[in-house]
């Protein structure tokens, strides 16, 4: 079971005696879209940190495609094909949308290689395809500094896609977005899944419903409930700790 996709089993993380994660188990299949919800302090961000190697668990198993994530450096995990989108969008304001994506494109990264870099036809079409996917085709030549908050988030998702990840971790993508942007983002993420696994951490339940995927509810560092959005919203334990408040 641990050869494919993302596999967490019995993961425990302790900070100064506080159990941020408590025997958490999670299985995300290749190409699956998964939403993770839970109240503040439920362990959502810590879970992301364990997967990306930022935090080491005290015990438990964390594997991706058979690789032991608990023993790998952050950069090595990134090279496995795990991309993470942080809450705060960090795109390069002085560069255009196209140039931001070009920078993220897989290519030699040294100074001399960058001086000699010429955009090939294949690279151009890869960038254009990504702009199409994240809905920024029309803004290709605009500096990222001129984009709206939502568009910046999409650009950053686009930059992650340029690195061709197998698993995309997305942290609260729709915070601060308009309703329209939220709906667009749900469509974008649902479209990305299928080729790659996508794990979305989010508070906004309307957005999670729009994703139309399997939902995992975390509470006090452990999995409380899992299933469709209707299933977990009907679960009395979930109602008690999260939805009822």
């Amino acid at each position: 079971m641990s050869g494919e996709g993302l596999y967490l089993d019995g993961v425990t993380v302790v900070f100064d005696g506080f159990r941020a994660l408590n025997t958490l188990s999670l299985l995300v299949a290749p190409g699956e879209l998964r939403a993770v919800i839970g109240p503040n302090g439920a362990g959502k961000t810590t879970m992301m940190d364990v997967i990306t190697g930022k935090t080491r668990p005290a015990s438990g198993i964390a594997r991706f495609e058979g690789h032991d994530l608990t023993r790998m450096e952050e950069s090595a995990i990134a090279n496995l094909g795990i991309g993470r989108k942080f809450q705060k969008p960090t795109v390069f304001d002085a560069l255009t949308v196209f140039e931001n994506l070009e920078l993220a494109l897989k290519a030699p990264r040294g100074p001399v290689a960058c001086l000699r870099w010429r955009l090939s036809g294949a690279a151009r079409s890869a960038i254009e395809a990504t702009m199409e996917q994240v809905g920024l085709r029309e803004r290709a030549d605009d500096p990222a500094g001129l984009l709206s908050h939502g568009q910046r988030q999409w650009l950053e998702i686009g930059m992650l896609l340029m690195q061709d990840p197998k698993l995309l971790l997305v942290d609260e993508p729709v915070a601060g977005m308009t309703d329209h942007e939220t709906a667009e983002t749900a469509r974008l993420l649902a479209g990305i899944a299928g080729d790659r696994s996508v794990v979305v951490v989010e508070h906004d339940l309307d957005f999670v419903r729009a994703l139309g995927c399997r939902v995992t509810v975390l509470h006090e560092g452990t999995m409380l409930s899992e299933g469709s959005i209707d299933h977990v919203q009907a679960d009395p334990r979930v109602v008690e700790v999260y939805l009822g408040r």
Binding site: A78, F92, L95, E102, R109, P111, L115, W117
Partner: protein, 345 residues
């Protein structure tokens, strides 16, 4: 129309010394003084370009670029000193006057080779480049950025100034080098030499400008801009930002060294005062005033601030440092994008 602006400026700069040839009394005649001052400004413009590459493009605010400029100047100064030969006051066939005065018996090893012009010119580039490599590597590797990096570079130039003031360094102490006689078989202090040195500086400025323009248009230039705006994010994308910053910092230092090497034959003197922290800060003010992150802005800033300085110091020299301080504070507050930013708006 915009395409004609730069060739137009270059044509005007090339015309300037030719106006010096007009007969005395002609209303269009440009004086010898103006030609040598303009030659100095061309060198300052190269220094401004160099600083702009590091600061305006990569966000490395160096407050010590004057040190690279001065080292380049000293390298050529050593060559000029060797060329004086027996024409010195003491008439020693090999040793410069100050060495005779200090009782040197033979040429120190680090003066070897400086009798050769290509070697001296190479050193004018390599010594600043090597210093930038060492300081840059240590600072960037420790992820020192922002104001801390500025302080380190400022300390670097100050330390070098103190070192060069010492007589036992073998660089002429606080008198430095002067009283040069010739360069490449050409007697200095003649109208012809003034011409040649002026055009050498102009050609170097145009060359540095074109190289910088070509470089900043590549993906490397965009990586630098990205480092300036969010270095950790660039690192996250898999770029080793240390290598990119070191590359531009070393290149920038070499360009500053070239500027210093062109400057010393024009002004006819180099002394430790060139390492003074105020000089480096002045260079930062040129770039800020003209508009950092644009190459035209850096050149424009060097010309305009120096024009102001020349005008002001002709009647109130004491005011200059105060005006410099005011510019240092007021420019980032009132015109963060400099002259170019105001012109474009």
């Amino acid at each position: 129309m915009r395409r004609l602006v730069l060739p137009g400026i270059v044509a005007l700069l090339a015309l300037l010394p030719l106006l010096n040839l007009l007969p005395e009394g002609s209303p269009f005649r440009v004086s010898d003084f103006v030609v040598s001052v303009a030659g100095k400004w061309l060198c300052y413009a190269i220094l401004a370009l160099a600083l702009d590459l590091a600061w305006g493009y990569a966000g490395i605010l160096s407050l010590g670029h004057g040190a690279f400029f001065a080292l380049g100047g000293y390298a050529i100064g050593m060559h000029l000193m060797r060329l004086i030969g027996p024409r010195g006051v003491y008439g020693h066939p090999v040793l410069p006057d100050f060495m005779v005065f200090l009782g040197y018996q033979e040429l120190p090893w680090f003066w070897w080779g400086f009798g050769n012009f290509p070697f001296a010119l190479l050193m004018a580039l390599l010594v600043p480049g090597l210093l930038a490599f060492v300081v840059g590597y240590l600072a960037f590797r420790s992820r020192i950025t922002g104001v801390y990096l500025s302080i380190i570079t400022q300390a670097m130039t100050y330390a070098l100034m103190l070192a060069f003031f010492r007589n036992d360094m073998g660089f002429g102490g606080n008198n430095g080098f002067t009283d040069f006689k010739e360069l490449l078989g050409m007697p200095l202090n003649t109208p012809f030499a003034r011409f040649v040195l002026y055009f050498a500086a102009l050609v170097a400025l145009v060359g540095c400008f074109l190289v910088s323009a070509a470089m900043t248009r590549t993906k490397f230039g965009r990586v630098l801009a990205a480092i300036r705006d969010g270095e950790s994010r660039v690192r996250f994308l898999g770029y080793d930002t240390l290598r990119h910053k070191l590359f531009i910092f070393v290149l920038s230092a070499m360009m500053a060294g070239l500027a210093g090497a062109l400057y010393v034959p024009i002004v006819g003197i180099i002394n430790p005062g060139e390492f003074s922290p105020a000089n480096s800060i002045e260079a930062v003010v040129w770039v800020a005033f003209g508009g950092r992150g644009t190459l035209v802005g850096a050149v424009l800033g060097a010309f305009s601030v120096n024009a102001l300085k020349t005008w002001l110091t002709s009647f109130a020299p004491d005011l200059w440092l105060i005006v410099l301080g005011i510019l240092f504070i007021a420019v980032p507050l009132l015109m963060p994008r400099g002259l170019i930013g105001m012109l474009r708006r």
